[in-house]
Amino acid sequence: MKSVKFTPLEMPNDVPKLRSEVRSFLNQELADIKAVDKAKSWSGYNAEFSRKLAGQGWIGMIWPKDLGGHEASALHRYVVMEELLAAGAPVAAHWIADRQSGTHIMRYSSPDVQKRFLPAIARGEMYFCIGMSEPNSGSDLASIQTKADRVDGGWIINGAKIWTTFAHRSHMMIALVRTTPKSESRHAGLSQFIIDLSADGVTVNPIEDHQGDHHFGEIFLDNVFVADEMLLGTEGDGWAQVNSELALERSGPERYLSSYRLFEELLMSVAQDCDDQTTATIGEITADLWTLRQMSMSIAGQLADGEDPSLAASMVKDLGACFEQNLPHTVQAGLGGSLHLARDTGLNETLSYLLKATPAFSLRGGTREILRGIIAKGLGLK
């Protein structure tokens, strides 16, 4: 048995300069944002902020210049992402388009389609959502029923998607649909399409979550026409394409930093010479956080070198989600004195928001059980 590769990453030496540029931009832009809104992290939607961020060249950073990108390295992009998340910047509007839809389009679409979408994404003006889950298909993704039928010049799509992050505030959706009926190989006959959510036959409804937010929604597709060139990649290769997309989705710093603002709020709320129990709790959180960051950076380095660390990425996503989920519970359990009774401090508002938000962290992008199944397969157990 070989250990899973986690070679330490050595950052490019101009990274400190980039960090300070990002920090000075964020200091200004986030000055008036409340602690609880910072806690929303990559679930915080703010189109104006996305456009300003694009103005700095920090969306589509690694894409070619003629497609609106900036030809930066993947590691420089990683640094900007982690700085945004650590500061609690409201990045949700463009996050998915920048992280995976754009990259996916670049890999699988024609130059014309790339020109249509990538520059608009890089300007912070066009937002994407990912249509995977359906009313009867969650973890068992291959069982989806939304289907596309060939017609002259394109496809007619019928079906429904649900639990789609910011469906109602996105312009486009990349959806996985069935293009040939289910056969013996469950993973065959699936394809990906770029669907314009303003097209005829598309209905999008937000779904209110249990704390009154609208971060996900449902999409009904009723005889929606999609032109041929909006088929992404190869007909029938959807399963493999989705899996390569999930590797991008599973490996970023957002997989361990979603609750990070609470740790900052805790540090700001306690005295330097606080009691031993609080000190030890801070030590324990730091050990997990530092280790996850090292793991996440190692994967970023491997991706930048063209390797495929998908098993390692599944491990980091699962460990990271457990960390993000446990953090609010650990903080709540350990708050002392007046801190735990207050309701109106940044710390308590952040804690309250995150206690309710964290169950999603081990559902989105692959459930804990699915990820552990993937890891078990990597260990040779399946």
Binding site: M1, S3, V4, F6, T7, P8, E10, M11, P12, N13, V15, P16, R19, R23, E82, A86, F263, E264, L267, M268, V270, Q272, D273, C274, D276, T278, T279, A280, T281, I282, G283, E284, T286, A287, D288, L289, W290, T291, L292, R293, Q294, M295, M297, S298, A312, M315, D318, L319, E369, L371, R372, G373, I375, A376, G378, L379, G380, L381, K382
Partner: protein, 356 residues
């Protein structure tokens, strides 16, 4: 890994594997002195010694490979302790004695004084749970002083060793009493105890990574071969999910120890080592209970090798700082920088490890 590191890994892996087989032989187990000679012939104890002086000019990244493999094989010899003891002596330009060496922590009343007869320094004090104290020639320890702390090198034969103390894996952990013992070397070093503890923690965490991988490998092999209800245990989701958790923990410890060795190679690394030893300690409870649970009763037998790794993991969790020690230490480090910004601090620390 560099080509040299791959060669180091392959060579040491083979030698450790053969040695452990001989040491654990039921017919005629190899004795300590003969086993040590094999390591000395390989020269691996001189990992940090300069090439022109017969060593490897190794880094902590190189040392981690050896520590990992010592843990991976459950090697019951003080090779890691000797490598680190020599590193401490090299850093302070102190003489390096022959043979196996060790290092350990002294109790607060330890003292250095001048020997009126010879004009040299003499040491009195107790060293607690010194790894392999009875088997080693010399021990590196520290002594608090009025103005500064010192690192002290002592001949083990000058100590009274109180009988037969071992850790939970049966490795010697000797309490050594020194009374007016002449020192082989002494050098002033602020925070000497911190340095010994930090290097010991980094060494143990790297060994823990190896022991975790071996316990994981045994667990995977066992559940793949053992059948119940007409199929291998490996085919049950309940087992798969448990071993996935184990693999994640092993990966976390592996990654942390590599990154901390990288940091130690770049200078000050107390932050990274504290995080690494604490993270590694916290992995022990989770992983050893999974390993034993999936093994069933066979895992508790003397004959089966799982205890070579689980017993060491339980022992090493306590050595060179348990969870309580490092969580408080790391928490204090974080609180000390919180006003300048913890995120800025953590990122600046990793940014200093950069490439052109």
């Amino acid at each position: 890994m560099t080509p040299q590191q791959l060669l180091l890994q392959e060579t040491v892996d083979n030698v450790f594997g053969e040695l452990v087989a001989k040491l654990n032989s039921r017919q005629q187990p190899l004795d300590f002195d003969s086993a040590w000679l094999t390591l000395q012939d390989l020269g691996i104890d001189n990992l940090f010694v300069a090439e022109e002086e017969g060593g490897f000019s190794g880094s902590w990244q190189d040392a981690r490979i050896v520590f990992y493999l010592a843990g991976r094989h459950g090697l019951a010899l003080p090779i890691c302790e000797t490598i680190v003891a020599k590193k401490i002596l090299l850093d302070l330009q102190l003489p390096i004695p022959e043979g196996p060496l060790t290092f350990g922590l002294s109790t607060p009343e330890a003292s250095l004084s001048n020997d009126k007869a010879t004009g040299g320094k003499i040491f009195s004090g107790n060293l607690l749970a010194v790894p392999w104290g009875r088997n080693t020639n010399a021990v590196v320890t520290f002594c608090h002083g009025a103005t500064t702390d010192s690192v002290v090198l002592l001949q083990c034969s000058g100590a009274q060793v109180s009988g037969g103390r071992v850790n939970d894996a049966g490795e010697p952990r000797d309490n050594m009493q020194f009374h007016d013992a002449s020192v082989l070397g002494v050098a002033a070093l602020p925070n000497a105890s911190e340095k010994l503890l930090r290097m010991g923690a980094l060494m143990r965490a790297s060994q823990m990574s190896g022991a975790l991988d071996s316990a994981l490998q045994l667990s995977i092999e066992h559940v793949s071969n053992r059948e119940q209800f007409g199929r291998p245990l490996a085919k049950f989701q309940a087992i798969q999910q448990q071993l996935a958790i184990f693999a994640e923990e092993a990966a976390a410890v592996n990654c942390a120890s590599q990154a901390a060795c990288d940091a130690e190679d770049h200078g000050d690394s107390l932050f990274e080592v504290a995080a690494t030893k604490l993270r590694s300690n916290r992995a022990v409870g989770i992983t050893t209970s999974i390993a034993h649970q999936v093994h069933g009763a066979i895992g508790l037998t003397k004959e089966y090798d799982l205890h070579l790794y689980t017993q060491r993991l339980w022992s090493w969790r306590s050595e060179f700082g348990n969870d309580r020690y490092w969580s408080k230490n790391l928490g204090q480090q974080v609180l000390a920088v919180k006003d300048e910004g913890f995120w800025n601090y953590m990122t600046a620390r990793s940014d200093r490890i950069s490439k052109l």
